[in-house]
């Protein structure tokens, strides 16, 4: 049989087996005790009869006729019987079915055999341990009988005495007691099983709670599982937390490696381009083209590495206004010589996005808008169900639908001039999708491009006015 895969089923099965074994043992033991009690009552009466008969044995090995008469109504009950075999082989017996011929002889040879032995003549003495031996057998009618046998030694030889009663007399009370006994054992079994079920449910609850806690970590709602676990689960929780911490550290290392790689590749590339910019170094521009392609590949793969490293942990609640204010300040300085002003109208909205990712998305969109705007960049936000819609608009030339689709293709850059900031639209889209959102490009009523970011609102935020 295959072992059950469920811990619950395994524990339940074990508990059921143990309960069944304990109940069976209890039933067997209680039955045995009952039987001994019932048999002992029978034995007492049979032994009394044996003692009476033994007292009637005369020294010559015969049974005194007078003694027979003083016996109580031993034969009154059906199936009761006795038999005495004298030293000379004469047989006395009583009872409706008095033939005890089927009663087995004592297995043990009589001590001293039929010899005179050490006892004085004229004595009648009870053999060995003065205890009657039990006998089991069937009478002439084939009914099972229970008997007792005693051997009495006389100077003439051993006299064997046996008495028997129907076995049924002992079994009846047992049978009568068995039904209520089994019923109570059954009830006990049911109660124990129910207790086991409750115990399993309560006992396994911390496991379920731990699983739910881990699910919350995976969903980004927590960064570790609670440490206050039952003694048996505390090491597991500690291991899980250590694993999570290691994961986070590995992620940070990976991001660090990416940054190092960026530095390692970009600095020599910068030196190369600076050399190519020297007069006469690259007359037809073909070397610049190669350097630009290297740069594009590096940026593309670093962007991918960054998006791949993002998303997973550390998803937090970030107010949109937080990075937006910083970015607008920075862009106003980067584009200090462009007469562009920012029109910002942000409601108090928070999104469930990694802070770094949000800053990257908004930075790229705002930079793009600043680059193309004539006079104004507009930043606004509204809610749409469980999502925030962040709109970045400019009054520049805008993009045709075909050009907008092209701009979102990875590895493309519509604006080939400048220092490369305009590269970011595909990365913005990738980051938005990783965060469970999206990026849409269309035309703004200002005349230029409108980029709309759809990002999941952080849970528990009330919804301000809907999209206009």
């Amino acid at each position: 049989m295959r072992r059950p895969r469920s811990l619950w089923a395994r524990l339940l099965l074990l508990s059921l087996l143990a309960t069944a074994a304990a109940l069976a043992a209890a039933g067997w033991a209680i039955g045995g005790v009952l039987e001994r009690f019932a048999t002992r009552g029978l034995d007492d009466r049979l032994d009394a009869q044996l003692m009476l008969l033994a007292g009637a044995v005369r020294p010559d090995g015969s049974l005194g006729a007078n003694a027979l008469r003083v016996l109580p109504g031993f034969d009154a009950g059906a199936g009761w019987s006795w038999r005495v075999v004298g030293a000379d082989g004469r047989v006395w017996r009583a009872g409706p079915v008095a033939d005890l011929g089927k009663v087995p002889s004592p297995a043990r040879p009589l001590p001293g055999g039929s010899g005179p032995g050490g006892s004085g003549p004229g004595d009648v003495r009870v053999d060995g341990p003065a205890r009657p031996r039990p006998l089991e057998g069937r009478d002439d009618a084939g009914r099972r009988v229970h008997g007792r046998a005693l051997t009495v030694l006389t100077p003439a030889g051993p006299v064997r005495i046996a008495a028997a009663a129907p076995r049924a007399l002992a079994e009846q009370p047992i049978r009568a007691a068995m039904a209520p006994l089994l019923m109570s054992l059954l009830l006990l079994g049911v109660a124990l099983t129910a207790a086991a079920l409750v115990q399993l449910r309560l006992g396994l609850r911390p496991l379920r709670d731990l699983r739910l806690a881990l699910a919350r970590v995976r969903a980004g709602e927590a960064d570790r599982v609670p440490g206050d676990q039952p003694t048996e689960l505390a090491p597991l929780a500690a291991e899980l937390n250590a694993l999570l911490a290691e994961n986070a550290a590995g992620l940070a290392r990976a991001r660090g490696h990416v940054a190092n790689l960026a530095h390692g590749l970009k600095t020599p590339l910068a030196a190369l381009i600076a050399r190519l910019d020297e007069p006469g170094a690259d007359p037809d521009g073909s070397l610049h083209e190669q350097a630009r392609r290297i740069d594009a590949r590096v940026r593309h793969h670093l962007g991918r590495a960054r998006t791949a490293a993002g998303g997973t942990p550390a998803r937090r609640t970030v107010p949109i206004a937080l990075p937006a204010d910083d970015l607008i300040g920075v862009l106003a300085r980067i584009h200090a010589d462009r007469p562009v002003r920012a029109a910002v109208d942000l409601p108090d909205l928070s999104v469930a996005v990694d802070a770094e990712d949000l800053s990257e998305m908004l930075g790229n969109l705002l930079d793009n808008a600043w680059r193309h705007a004539r006079t104004v960049v507009r930043l606004g936000a509204a809610t749409d169900g469980a999502f925030a819609i962040v709109a970045v608009e400019d009054d520049g030339p805008g993009l045709s639908p075909a050009a907008a689709a092209e701009a979102l293709r990875p590895g493309r850059r519509l604006d080939e001039r400048g220092d490369g900031h305009g590269f970011g639209l595909p990365i913005v889209r990738e980051l938005a999708e990783l965060s469970g959102g999206a990026l849409y490009l269309d035309r703004s009523d200002l005349g230029g491009l409108r980029a709309r970011l759809r990002l999941p609102l952080s849970p528990g935020r009330t919804a301000p006015p809907a999209v206009r």
Binding site: P268, A274, E278, P323, I334, A336, A355, E356, S359, D419
Partner: protein
Amino acid sequence: MRVLVVEDDAALAEALARALRAERFAVDVARDGVDGHHLGATERYDAAVLDLGLPGRDGASVLAAWRTEGRTLPVLILTARDAWSDKVAGFKAGADDYLTKPFRTEELVMRLRALVRRAAGHAAARVACGPLCYDVALGSFELDGLPLRLTGLEWRVLTQLMLRREVMVERADLIERVYEGDADVDSNSVEVIVGRLRRKIGSAMIETVRGHGYRLTAGR
């Protein structure tokens, strides 16, 4: 115009210095954060180009140290770190501009000239003084609408005077902002250069404030 370049990569630092000198800047190069900080804190520069990942001392800490020491020179951060959060952090640390590697030399030069112009308080991209006009983006001078040919030293002296037109520029300040750190400076050389400039733009435009310095004036 004298610029400090703090960059640890030898090839890039060399190429940068060459490119900036070709654009007539005086250039000092520091190859680690400690030297860079020391030069920026003790010498007079019109601008600094600062890498962030530096041996010895991180660029961000160098910048923060300059700012707490009250050094207001315009700083352009030049780094491979192109995340927006890095840029925000750079500006918050006191940077005036931010350029990511790799970059085009002309872009860097234009941004440096613009930084220096804004630091001198000029919002427009062209600065004029009488018949003399300075196009900051191109770094070129025109006199009465005609291009003015200048040597490197002449250009440096004239931009200093131009950006502080109608204001006296101290001689010592001029010397510091015109010569590179390791140059042999002849005490008379500034007079020689000013003399040559007067011959090119008219002697009335540069007044001598005896014992102190010079002033560029439209002669009103």
